[in-house]
Symmetry: C2
Subunit: 321 residues, 2 copies
């Protein structure tokens, strides 16, 4: 038994679960595991490191995976899209910026284009610009994102564009309750990040994964601290949710001070990240960390989410008395 | 046919829908309409205006309604709780502050105590302090609230205290999709504000209701502007979500400037509120405004939400292929 939606039909996959293309975390092994379990794994191409991407695609081997990029970053290096398309990914995933400059090439290559958005207005524009699938990402998501929350954003985007394209819920979903809830909202599936961040195949540091599994959703924050620390010039409308830690507490209210001290703070940050020092380096997960309590592989996560959701959906009519 | 949960059993009501006790908006007529339709209406006692509360309780007549207070404000005027308890409300609803100073009197009166919280830690404390029902309120809610989002907060609170008390979802819910989703998350019901703010019986200004019905969830903001403008000294952990408008845009980044000008800005704000000038006066609704597209009565809203949710729950197994 499995859950059939417009998403599973369009992508010809078994389960309506997508791996979030977490930059540098969702590599070839994790993406393969998710695809092989019946979902869709998406490699996190992020800011566009060609060598990293090529290496991770090799690890995925013959397994069909998608490739994700940060749209405003890809705009600075548009040639990378051709590299990605040459691999015939199962889907292209673009987030954080207008897709109109890339959609024609992706459509011409006959590869499904998934656009992640953070508002209803962005959803309308992305569909007009050629998206085949919309991911509605709520602010509770880990990593970069906007200000709207998943629960009211998903049905609003379904009302706006749901007759044209499947809508996928992202942000705050890490178990079968979240998948079942998303389907009730009119979504055709879910995209999960945090639960896969902590998975065996994730490229996050082992200590970061431990911190995610031990973390509390009460203890996350959206901030620009780690973007400033890494000298990545993110547009102001998006910032990054992580667990709180000493470094973020220190600089959250003083980004200008961090900019003045970046010559020492950036190397300190990078060193901490490589060492898995989670007091300084950010654990990039969202509010769903409360629901992540196990050290699992990517395939086991897909199977668990689906079987939990199936139980909830099968028993739903029993609530009617 | 109706939806049966731990909430409907505990309160002996027909439908698992609570009216949010919106201060000065949820009066006796609206609360009665919701109770008479099978949910539970809760009068918004807010900061504790005894004459207003008494008047609204009279309007509710023999209909059993609940009474809600802002907890930190009630702590300044604790005698008001006795006034409320003397009316034998169907439930007491406390939000924004520790309930330990009030719970013993409410329990002694054998009146169910509903505590609204914004974090998992607050939920654990409220249950330890004597709450009978927990409302898990997400940041997408209109009016005062915290920083966590409904979709991941509800299952986390269910995991923390759900074996002891029913958990109700609040924030972002305005139709049957939201109710069905909340039930999948493990909630025993929902609390709705925005959709009732715009209802016929709501005490909000007619122009504010029109603005809510026309509003976009992309266009709300959490801010302390209108609390500063009204010289209400809210604790820093909570602020208030409203539609954006000219007044909030003007002062959102300059609360100190607003404080310096409050002698002129407060009367300007109050005058605008009385006149329904929504460029200055706040329309106090949340991100669910996208889902509010009709001018309805409170009873029709309850019935619509329930019948929509019933359809989704009944058909849920059909997703399993």
């Amino acid at each position: 038994m499995s859950i059939k939606t417009a998403l599973t039909s369009l992508l010809d996959i078994e389960h309506p679960i997508l791996l979030a293309p977490m930059a540098g975390v969702s590599g070839g092994a994790l993406a393969s595991a998710v695809t092989n379990a019946g979902g869709l794994g998406v490699i996190g191409g992020g800011y566009g490191d060609r060598d990293w991407l090529t290496g991770e695609l090799l690890k995925a081997g013959n397994t069909q995976v998608g490739i994700g990029f940060i749209t405003w970053s890809l705009q600075k290096n548009p040639g990378l899209l051709d590299v990605a398309l040459a691999y015939r990914p199962k889907a292209m995933f673009l987030s954080f910026g207008d897709i109109d400059g890339f959609a024609p090439r992706i459509r011409q290559a006959e590869i499904p284009l998934i656009a992640q958005v953070q508002t209803v207005a962005q959803a309308r524009k992305a569909v007009a610009d050629g998206a085949d699938i919309i991911v509605a990402q709520g602010t509770e998501a880990g990593g970069h994102g906007g200000g709207r929350a998943t629960l009211p954003l998903v049905p609003a985007i379904v009302d706006a564009v749901g007759k044209q394209v499947p809508v996928i819920a992202a942000g705050g979903i890490a178990d079968g309750r979240g998948l079942a809830a998303a389907l009730m909202l009119g979504a055709s599936g879910v995209l999960c990040g945090s639960v896969f961040y902590a998975s065996e195949e994730s490229l996050a540091h082992p200590k970061s994964k431990e911190a995610a599994i031990a973390g509390s959703g009460d203890n996350t924050v959206r901030s620009s601290v780690i973007d400033v620390a890494r000298e990545i010039d993110w547009p102001a409308q998006w910032n990054i949710r992580t667990l709180k830690n000493t470094f973020i507490d220190q600089w959250h209210g003083d980004l200008d001070g961090l900019r003045r001290n970046v010559a020492t703070e950036m190397p300190r940050y990078v060193k901490a990240r490589d060492a898995g020092d989670v007091d300084v380096s950010a654990v990039i997960v969202g509010e769903a960390v409360d629901l992540i309590r196990r050290d699992e592989g990517g395939a086991a996560i897909v199977q668990r989410i689906v079987s939990e959701a199936e139980v909830h959906l099968r028993h739903a009519p029993q609530m009617l008395g």
